[in-house]
């Protein structure tokens, strides 16, 4: 019973701020409500026994990406967004399209019989993730550093005016 209660609370903590992000008129408040949504998702990861991924979610999403988004909003005077109309004119059509896709997704996901397997994840999943990274997923480990390098160089070239 406890886990279901926790799940419902965390699902609400994820979905309600996410709704606020997409509908709020004030842009900084939208970015601010992004943080509880990320923390709610981190809570869901904890319920799924993915402790390391939950820690990384809090650290990277709520701690770094949200800060970057807040920085850019404040730097591009988005903060004054309150006066400017935020939603474009295709609001109704967009809403319908999103609702249709969500309904299709729900129908697809909830109706198929997933091959559930018993068993639970290794307890110390930091060590398990570490050994997975270093043995079976070595390529992902190394490619990620190349992706980080490329995106760092690319973002710096785009953002800075060539002097």
């Amino acid at each position: 019973m406890g886990e279901l209660g926790a799940f419902i609370i965390l699902a609400l903590v994820t979905l309600l701020p996410a709704a606020a992000v997409v509908t709020s008129r004030n842009l900084v408040r939208a970015a601010m409500s992004l943080v509880p949504s990320f923390l709610g998702v981190a809570g869901l990861f904890v319920l799924l026994q993915a402790e390391f991924v939950a820690g990384i979610q809090i650290l990277i999403y709520a701690g770094a990406i949200a800060v970057l988004i807040l920085f850019v909003i404040m730097l591009t005077a988005g903060g004054t967004g309150t006066a400017v109309r935020q939603a474009n004119e295709q609001r109704v059509v967009g809403g319908l399209a999103a609702a249709a896709l969500t309904a299709a997704l729900l129908a697809l996901l909830l109706r198929t019989a997933w091959p559930l397997a018993a068993g639970s994840l290794p307890r110390a999943n930091v060590a398990a993730v570490g050994s997975a990274f270093l043995t079976t997923f070595v390529l992902a480990f190394e490619i990620s550093s190349v992706v980080l390098l490329v995106s760092l160089v690319g973002a710096l070239v785009i953002a800075r005016r060539e002097r």
Binding site: S145, L156, R160
Partner: protein, 123 residues
């Protein structure tokens, strides 16, 4: 494991309540003398002018950008650090260290690039 994070959730909720307690006390106790001048923002005495939003300058963003990309590197180094000693006992220490060294060197080149291109300069 779930219990640890139950403590974290309860700590957050109780923290917000306990931090809100003095605010509620102040709301109850503190006097209210409303006059418009009091609400003007403090510009060291000068009458505030214009909107508060910062004029456009790129260097704040550059530091946030470099921060995000180097923070992401922590994802890979933390599990490596935790599992490093187990690999040493399996005589695989050199191989694993080489992997992490390659990872760090590639990212070090990113830092070097940002350094040479002056992205880390404040001016």
């Amino acid at each position: 494991m779930l219990l640890d994070w139950l403590y974290v959730a309860v700590f957050a909720v109780v923290g917000v309540v306990m931090a809100g307690l003095p605010l509620a006390l102040v709301w109850a106790l503190a006097p209210r003398a409303e006059y418009p001048q009091k609400h003007l923002t403090y510009e060291s005495g000068v009458v505030p002018f214009g909107q508060a939003w910062a004029q456009f300058n790129i260097r704040y963003y550059l530091f946030a950008l470099v921060f995000v990309l180097f923070e992401v590197e922590v994802i890979y180094l933390f599990p490596w650090a935790v599992v490093f000693r187990d690999f040493i006992t399996q005589r695989l220490g050199g191989f694993v260290l080489a992997e992490a060294a390659l990872f760090i060197v590639i990212l070090g080149m990113g830092l070097l690039y940002a350094w040479r291109k002056g992205a880390l300069e404040w001016v």
